[in-house]
Symmetry: C2
Subunit: 323 residues, 2 copies
């Protein structure tokens, strides 16, 4: 799932053979991700299938599971875990926010794919939720996934400190709502067929995609302790990768085919949506993505946090990904 990245990823066996300490450049993103993903997928499967053993009624659980399980790169959960690593946080605490942010992402895809929005029929190589389960159930599954995200963040036990629970809810709610993802989608919706300025396009994506990616980083950071300066640096890192992610998405929308992408390609152009590629051209967009990567890595450098290997590797991976 994770491509080898020049200068960042080394083959798993090599790391093992050398018994390389984590602070060298021989960080193995593939191996690290595999370990994280095994835990994340198991947790998602448990929590979305039947949190507290009360299955969701009337096909709602099926639609929720379909929307979340067996698909997705889990970039946001990995960012949570990586940021938790960076602040020497407790990975077992980070698991809930890791899954919660993925539920928000999954719900947004379900609603975004609906006929009244993007009207998309293919997602992660499968029929979209409303195609599979009908529009009404897709709507409800999305709504229930958003609620479940906040339920996951607030376990009724001492496993997560109450102050951390409240902070995690705040970060997620702000990133998901009108000042974040939903706000960005509203701009997106209002912008079809309109010429956007660069500033407007940036603002749209800062909200639509950037806010939740940045929140993933900050939620991971909330699972440990870091200086205000380090938190600021992580916030800058999150903003840079959030924007880079969208620039690369726009590039892939015109360069990748549907089989690689797992979703309908070329749909932005077909829907006459403004993109970074339509605004600045393909080559300039590629350069811009690399600039943003450099900026993200500089932010990590300036954070003075030591254990940022996973955050570095994830930034590199998401800018240089092929799908």
């Amino acid at each position: 799932m994770f491509p080898v990245i020049n200068g960042v990823t080394a083959p798993a066996q090599k790391t093992t053979e050398l018994n390389a300490p984590e602070h060298t450049s021989l960080f193995d993103l593939g191996a690290w991700s595999a370990v994280q993903l095994a835990v994340i997928e198991r947790a998602l499967s448990r929590w979305v299938a039947s949190p507290s053993d009360a299955p969701a009624p009337a096909g709602l659980g099926d639609a929720m599971r379909y929307a979340v399980l067996d698909g997705g790169k889990r970039l946001r959960p990995l960012l949570v875990m990586a940021a938790c690593d960076a602040v020497n946080g407790d990975a077992s605490v980070a698991l809930r926010p890791s899954c919660a942010v993925e539920l928000i992402h999954a719900y947004s895809l379900v609603h975004d794919d609906m006929p009244c929005m993007d009207n998309d029929v293919l997602r992660r190589g499968k029929p979209t939720v409303h195609v599979q389960f009908g529009e009404a159930r897709a709507l409800l599954a999305g709504d229930a996934l958003q609620a479940l995200a906040f339920e996951l963040l607030t376990p009724d036990d001492a496993s997560v400190d109450a102050r951390a629970q409240a902070r995690l809810c705040r970060l997620l709610a702000q990133a998901a709502g009108y000042q974040g993802m939903a706000g960005g989608q509203a701009i997106d919706l209002a912008s079809v067929g309109l010429p956007l300025t660069s500033a407007q396009l940036h603002e749209m994506h800062r909200l639509k995609t950037g806010a939740l990616l940045q929140a993933s980083v900050m939620m991971g950071a909330a699972c440990g302790s870091a200086s205000p300066a380090a938190l600021d640096a992580l916030r800058d890192y999150g903003a840079a990768i959030g924007l880079a992610f969208q620039v690369v998405d726009d590039i892939l929308d015109v360069t990748a085919d549907v089989a690689t992408l797992g979703k309908t390609a070329g749909k932005d152009a077909a829907q006459d949506k403004p993109t970074f590629v339509s605004l600045m051209g393909l080559e300039a967009s590629r350069c811009y993505a690399q600039e943003l990567l450099a900026k993200a890595l500089d932010s990590l450098q300036s954070s003075q946090l030591e254990n940022t290997h996973a955050l570095r590797a994830l930034a590199d991976m998401l800018v240089n990904r092929q799908h």
Copy 2:
């Protein structure tokens, strides 16, 4: 807005003249509600218009405000405030959960009215949100309102204790999600045209309407302190009024006209939806509503809480309402 209720509500001037202490039966629901509603409406208006002074973009804020402001009986916020009173809680703390639960209720109406769900065009005497703003914006406004509810519950200051913030989020998330409102709506959706047993109808409404009403009570109770036994009694009260509310709703759907109801009347029968009236008949439904009211009042009695006047009066009002 609030009718005079036999044995519970006395005219405002009479209470004042007698200078009646709160623990007498001369509790004035109208006067109490007017005070609460002034505060609640002002808070909703401030928080939905521009929380932290960042207006929602691209018409999203307009749709959110339209969905929330200038309409609605605010039953759930009043239950929060009344339950807060009952446990001698801090009313200024209860204001956020009071508004948060109303945002969840408002979002559920927006989504529920959409063409893929109930396809309703009239709500509170006004065109529904998707009629006024289009389906896509209605979908997003609902999503953003749900997120805003959790944002309201988690202010980044010391005004609400972190443990209370976490508990409030937990109660609201559970009541809104697959084990609550969304789950009930899924059953509702799957039940059109099907004969439901009494047990199935009860389960549907326990989730669809009851969970959020009960959560309103428990969220208010979370703003103060009460014994486990008192909390159990309040939970029973919440369950009884939650169910009674739906029984009365079903009665009004066949007995009230559209002008009184402010929404399309007779739609349950038209859509061949199972209701308490279709299951047990009109007269038996009326008796059942009164039984549930008695049960709710008994629960308050057994709670041994002293200041339950507002909860008593609200129960009476919602069972004996005409719209």
